[in-house]
Symmetry: C2
Subunit: 331 residues, 2 copies
């Protein structure tokens, strides 16, 4: 059991630092120890938290890798260093995703045996208490088949540690569910994933190919893909949900009668909203680096950020990185 | 102006031939000449239509290519032959998608100059009278960059002929909107698509990369991708829409109060439903073969099928295949 704080990139996010501080306060009320990283003069009024000073901020749209290399005193780099140096148990950033990835990778390093870290994003499954974990959802545009097997292992360990899924089922994202469907990468990965050894060692089960329409279905627990396809699928899902919900809200407000109907429906729609809300999932995680690194949406609400901080704290306590190390370093 | 009929695969679809005949009757009422293809003994009671007899039916789940090769007297093969032989102006099938593709390709042949035919699927854009055309949405799992340029040309011609979009904007599906983002295939295609020659010859404009979240947005008119990514994106969009709408309908029926609210909302929701309904789009098209071949969902409603038949008829009248031939054969 660790009592180290979670390092939070106070400067990362659409309305940072105010939006971040609002989330931090909610997390602190839940008893989670927190370390802020950012420009001290912008963090006055947050005297209850220890601050690691960082004079630079990497902008949301900045080129990630070069920014991280050049801006050594940026908040996201200092946050990753705090984890590396044992000052923090985990880090959370709602800033530039690429910069958070690069800073985590460069400062924390990879877990021995891991070829490439991957971003694992939770995708809600309506009616099921835990989501599907999609990885890689964007870290590696090009992947080899053996990396996909490591993604499967990392996703399964994460799924078990975070949601208590005993024997995670792993699906491979393809353009058809039959074995033999897919790109050359998918076909090669399919064969490697059928190997019983990694399944036994990880405590996971390979369930074969899944399709885009299965992303939100209760068919598997982990969905493995390359970072290009994962990014397209994830953003497609977000785009469709946004369009549909937007159209719906427009209809709800289109007449007095509609507004009256929407009011009557509200009690039935609120749980639905909570189900589909990104707030409840608490951010994506960069799996494969030597430390817990949670990457949240730039537009995260205070609750979403507090949930991300709580997840970071819990994963550090459960030593998920240690579990990953045991399984992936032993090969 | 052609007066040739549209050949309809009467045996293809989830409740064929009944479901198909229901759609055919709606299309016939609109004045479209129709030729049924199927087993005559199952088509009694449809005496108002001429029938091309075909003794075999390729099942929905059958392996497509080998079925088409072996079942030479199947309805979908005979429908494609009717187009090839000049007995029909176009064909429509709601049966096995792969079989409809293979039959069209093998019997009609490719347009000269076309490397590979592609499936073009309309994706609704809320609030805009025409959809985005996504291609390839599944015909070619592996693609070369030059094929993607041909997909752009074919998609643009189709978009202009079918919806009257004067100078279609073409987007390239990638994992980031900036130039230089993407897989090696996407990067290479980006460079080829920037070439002004094909743009001028086609009367189209290359608008750069688009992301998954842009699928339903009014940013471009044609979205080009390989058949693997296109299939994943399309099925993801369908899956998310299905889950959201299912959850919504569940909420509408969850209590007396909710049912009352839903009733008040109905007038505002009906146009929304029509907007998002697959019925209005009328099926995907296989572009690049020497004939109009429309491929509808197996679960198409009678209205959806009638719309697909009407689209097939209109594209034949406008000689879309001739336009494609002029632009693609001239290279």
């Amino acid at each position: 059991m660790t009592s180290l704080p979670v390092a939070v990139d106070a400067m990362g996010g659409d309305d940072a630092p105010q939006s971040v501080l609002a989330g931090v306060r909610i997390a602190a009320e839940r008893g989670i120890p927190i370390l802020l990283v950012g420009q001290p003069e912008q963090l006055t009024g947050s005297g209850e938290f220890e601050v690691i000073p960082a004079s630079q901020t990497i902008a949301m749209g900045a080129e990630a890798a070069s920014s991280v290399r050049k801006m050594k005193d940026s908040s996201v780099v200092r946050a990753a260093e705090a984890v590396r140096d044992g000052r923090a148990a985990a880090m959370v950033s709602a800033g530039n995703t690429g910069a958070a990835m690069a800073a985590s990778l460069l400062r924390m390093g990879r877990i021995r045996g891991v070829s490439r870290p991957a971003i694992a994003t939770p995708i809600l499954v309506p009616g099921r208490p835990w989501p599907n974990v999609l990885l890689d959802s964007g870290a590696n545009t090009e992947c080899s088949a053996s990396w996909l097997v490591q993604f499967a292992q990392m996703g399964a360990v994460y799924c078990r540690d975070r949601w208590g899924v005993e024997e995670p089922r792993v699906g491979l994202l393809s353009n058809g569910e039959e074995a033999g469907k897919g790109s050359p990468l998918v076909k090669e990965a399919f064969e490697l994933l059928e190997d019983q050894d990694w399944q036994a060692r990880t405590g996971a089960v390979f369930a074969g190919n899944v399709e885009g329409r299965d992303l939100l279905e209760d068919l598997v627990d982990v969905i493995v893909t390359d970072g290009f396809t994962g990014n397209v699928a994830l953003k497609t899902a977000e785009g469709v949900a946004k369009q549909l919900i937007g159209a719906l809200l427009g209809a709800f407000d289109s007449s007095d009668e509609a507004r009256q109907g929407a009011e009557l429906l509200a009690p039935a729609l609120v749980p639905l909203y909570e189900d589909f809300s990104p707030d409840s999932v608490g951010g994506a995680i960069l799996l494969g680096v030597s430390g817990v690194s949670i990457i949240s949406h730039g537009a995260s609400s205070p609750t979403a950020l507090a949930n991300a901080i709580q997840v970071a704290h819990e994963l550090a306590e459960r030593d998920t990185v240690g579990s990953l190390r045991r399984i992936l370093s032993s090969e």
